[in-house]
């Protein structure tokens, strides 16, 4: 039994290592106190979550609280997030902070498409999450999640910096649970861009995603020379089973209409 603290520490370390080391990994004696064995996912996610750079992107009142979160009292630097990048190419996280209007949605979707993967979206406040107090109005869309995928929602009008920090910690937890083998951004081929919405008097119905995809990609294929040439952006036909579902729903609806109330 060794007695000095350094020796004790080495002993402990070796015990830990032995649990993971197979016979084939020969760790030299002098390195055994310095080597730690872990999974690739863990070290990869740890480094990603510890330096997650938010997009410097403010919309409305929530942006003020976002700035307050980054400033002296709440100090976002504790989470390695103080580097707010104005360029979407350099940022990992988009904090949608404020009221999203129909005029702004195309810009937001375009910025989201420009962000490099892996990318995350945090919907901050009532407006970005569900339209907020102006939802009844004629210009505000009821939630950014109709247009781009959202990872974490933070409620509040506006959320306090504490609430935002809690949301960010939740996002970190989500990042820690991901695995390189299953995440979508290491699959083969490029991921599809989110269709950029065009202003209209109404907002789109998420159940129509398939139709929208067909319509928008068809339009893209028709107009863009390069995209049309590669054939990647050809219109996707509606699958037969979906068509059958639609037909069944229509028949059901017709039958329901005929029945007396």
């Amino acid at each position: 039994m060794t007695t000095t603290p350094v020796a004790q520490f080495s002993e402990l370390k070796r015990e830990q290592l032995n649990r993971y080391l197979h016979d084939r990994i020969q760790v030299p004696e002098e390195l055994q106190a310095n080597v730690m064995v872990t999974t690739l996912d863990k070290i990869y996610n740890w480094s990603r979550k510890s330096s997650m750079w938010p997009l410097l992107f403010g919309l409305a009142c929530c942006a003020i609280e976002m700035i307050a979160t980054a400033a002296s009292r709440y100090d976002l630097a504790r989470f390695g997030m103080e580097v707010m990048r104005p360029s979407p190419r350099q940022s990992d996280l988009m904090i949608v902070s404020g009221t999203v209007t129909k005029k702004m949605v195309p810009a937001i979707v375009r910025i989201y498409n420009q962000m490099a993967e892996p990318r995350y979206v945090l919907s901050m406040g009532a407006c970005a999450t569900g339209g907020g107090p102006f939802k009844e109005g004629y210009t505000v869309v009821s939630g950014i999640d109709k247009y781009i995928p959202v990872d974490v929602y933070v409620p509040g009008c506006p959320p306090t910096p504490e609430a935002l920090l809690y949301g960010l910690i939740k996002l970190h937890e989500k990042v820690e649970r991901q695995s390189i083998t299953t995440v979508p951004w290491y699959r083969k081929g490029a991921s599809e861009a989110v269709p950029v919405p065009v202003l209209g008097p109404d907002i789109f119905d998420p159940r129509k995603v398939q139709v929208i995809k067909e319509y928008t990609l068809g339009a893209a294929a028709a107009t863009r020379g390069a995209a049309a040439a590669t054939g990647r952006l050809q219109p996707q036909p509606i699958p037969e089973d979906v068509k059958a579902r639609i037909r069944a729903a229509q028949a059901k609806y017709r039958a329901m209409k005929k029945q007396p109330a």
Partner: protein, 609 residues
């Protein structure tokens, strides 16, 4: 674009429950004042009515004589209305009148005579209601008139730039017209596959067309066109500027607004009076308390309700604290944009701002969107811990302001970037209808708190800082001194804080205390009526301006006697001040555009309505 009719959601009270006299038209002005008599003598038949209404001078004029009246009011040595403060319009199609569907309403201000004049111009009915444009007399009418065209659909004959300003070019309607519904949420689960709406839904989502760039008028492709925003770190929100550059010199700037158009005017017309207080927080979210105050004062003007002295003083304390908080935020972001000492000053200024937000949190539970004031007073009394904390804040704050000044005022970098940049002369400032520090930085000695006092500001002793240079540095000095004067006002207010009720005792307007509900049936009835129906405001119209941290914040309310405002218009200081960006930036470098944006101190929530 497919025309999908939005589903209408009726917020109306059932017609049978409405008192028979509602809706009613605002009464014509009665009596006369010196100014209205003078105008009536000069224009004779063209003046339809003139006199006083809720203490305001109002003149109804025929549209043919509107421009002549504006010119007369501006140039006549006895009138001298130098500035057009605001343009708005009322759609009277839901009022019991058959002719003159649209009225345009103008607010004129004389700084030298401390007078305010409201001009109402009934327009001729027709397919395209048209009013004469006042841009020839006051160039500041440019953007407000574009806003009226955009939201109300009134053409302005002779307007130099008749484009939409907030809504996109292809928007199908003019949303503030009364026949246009509020909007309506989509209700996906009531739709079935057979609904005709379902066929057209989703087809509005199209690929963004790569149309040839559409240049704002007055710009040419000979020069370089730069697109600044709506996502840009130093436009203070979602402002978009199209900048025409010759080399690095700015030739022309055109602002594209509306990326944060939340439509609160239309929303406000569908809310009860007391419910709109919370929406005012979200207009200019850095000065929520001042917005509350302005709105409450405008409604109280129509109601004619007395505010108890304690509530008045509490309102003053909160409004001045908010002014300091807003200026601190302006300072920190402005320095961040302009100067190398940026990040540290952001940290320092935010530290002090957090103290103010703590005080707000103490009185109302919220930091930013406070909703503290109520029509008839404030929502609750201050807690016992408030005053000691405020005292501590008052003790440390003057030193901190000195500290900021030591970092900036004589700093070579700071003065290099600010002195001589964004110059506005006194005449230009008056012509463009600028207010607040933008006006005082150009040498106009005007402060609504001193010259048209409200909320008991006449009882306080404070100075109005004025600088004559008219550049960004002058505005910086004005704002720094304003913070010190605000501290003086708060000091006096705390020393003279009277005891008594914190809201009016009128049970028709303010709800009874909770304890009273248990013992009094009458209190219960009052409470029920207030919480369900709200209170009715007598028919009339009122304009109330207050000195917000960014300038004159005005509320124009047209009441038809019901529990909801018939027309609610907000005169935002940032909106009117931002009009100056083009004039300020021409001939300077591109980087000075950023300095000018910071110096105007815009908040997009208010600019974009």
């Amino acid at each position: 674009m497919l025309d999908v009719a939005p589903r209408v959601r009726k917020y109306e009270i059932l017609p049978s429950l409405q008192p028979p006299g509602i809706p009613a038209v605002a009464p014509l002005p009665t009596g006369e004042s010196e100014d209205t008599r003078r105008i009536a003598e000069r224009f004779g038949e063209a003046v339809l009515a003139a006199g006083l209404h809720h203490g305001q001078q109002v003149v109804y004029i025929k549209p043919e004589q509107l421009v002549a009246l504006a010119e007369f009011a501006k140039t006549d040595p006895h009138l001298r209305y130098e500035t057009l403060i605001d343009v708005s319009a009322v759609d009277r199609s839901e009022l019991p009148v058959s002719d003159h569907r649209f009225h345009t309403v103008y607010q004129l201000r004389s700084y030298s005579r401390k007078q305010h004049l409201m001009i109402v111009c009934p327009l001729e009915d027709g397919d395209e209601p048209t009013a004469p444009s006042l841009t020839g007399v006051y160039s500041g009418a440019n953007w407000p008139e574009r806003e009226v065209w955009d939201l109300m659909g009134i053409r302005f004959a002779g307007h130099p730039d008749p484009r939409r300003i907030l809504m996109p070019e292809n928007w199908p309607n003019h949303p503030l017209q009364k026949q246009v519904p509020l909007g309506g949420e989509e209700v996906p689960f009531t739709l079935t596959w057979e609904d005709p709406e379902f066929e057209s839904l989703g087809k509005q989502i199209l690929e963004a067309k790569s149309a040839p760039p559409k240049l704002p008028p007055g710009m040419s492709l000979e020069n370089m066109i730069i697109n600044l925003g709506p996502h840009h770190p130093s436009t203070h929100g979602v402002l978009r500027l199209v900048v025409e550059l010759d080399g690095e010199t700015v030739v022309n700037v055109d602002a594209d607004l509306g990326y944060l158009h939340s439509g609160f005017e239309k929303t406000g017309e569908n809310k009860r009076y007391k419910d709109f207080v919370y929406y005012t927080d979200r207009m200019d979210y850095l000065t929520a308390m001042s917005n509350n105050l302005g709105y409450c004062l405008a409604v109280e003007k129509l109601l004619g309700v007395e505010i108890p002295p304690r509530a008045q003083v509490l309102r003053v304390i909160m409004a001045e604290l908010q002014r300091i908080a807003s200026h601190l935020f302006w300072l920190s972001t402005h320095v961040l944009d302009v100067s190398g000492t940026g990040m540290s000053l952001l940290m320092y200024a935010t530290r002090e701002r957090e103290r103010i937000l703590d005080l707000f949190e103490m009185v109302c539970g919220a930091r930013l969107t406070v909703g503290y004031m109520r029509i008839g007073g404030v929502s609750r009394d201050i807690p016992p811990a408030f005053l000691p904390h405020l005292e501590e804040f008052l003790k440390i704050m003057p030193e901190q302001i000195d500290d900021y000044e030591r970092m900036l005022t004589h700093g070579p970098l700071w003065s290099e970037r600010l002195i001589g940049i964004g110059k506005i002369t006194r005449e230009e400032a008056l012509d463009m209808g600028l207010t607040g520090p933008m006006l005082r930085g150009s040498g106009v000695d005007w402060d609504l708190r001193r010259d048209a006092p409200y909320s008991g500001y006449e009882n306080y002793d404070f100075k109005v800082p004025v600088a004559n240079e008219g550049d960004c540095y002058a505005r910086y000095l004005v704002r720094m001194e304003e913070m010190r004067q605000s501290l003086r006002i708060i000091r006096q207010a705390v020393d003279n804080l009277p005891d008594g009720p914190y809201r009016a005792e009128d049970r028709k307007i303010t709800p009874p205390p909770r304890a009273e509900l248990d013992i009094s049936m009458e209190a219960l009835i009052h409470h029920f009526k207030l919480m369900t129906e709200g209170f009715h405001v007598p028919p009339g119209m009122a304009y109330q301006g207050i000195e917000s941290s960014k300038g004159e914040l005005g509320f124009f309310i047209y009441s038809d006697g019901s529990a909801r405002p018939y027309r609610l218009h907000v005169r935002g200081p940032s909106f009117n001040n931002l009009y100056a960006i083009s004039k300020m930036s021409k001939g300077h470098m591109l980087s000075d555009v950023i300095t000018n944006i910071g110096s105007i101190d815009i908040v997009l929530g208010e600019v974009d309505r």
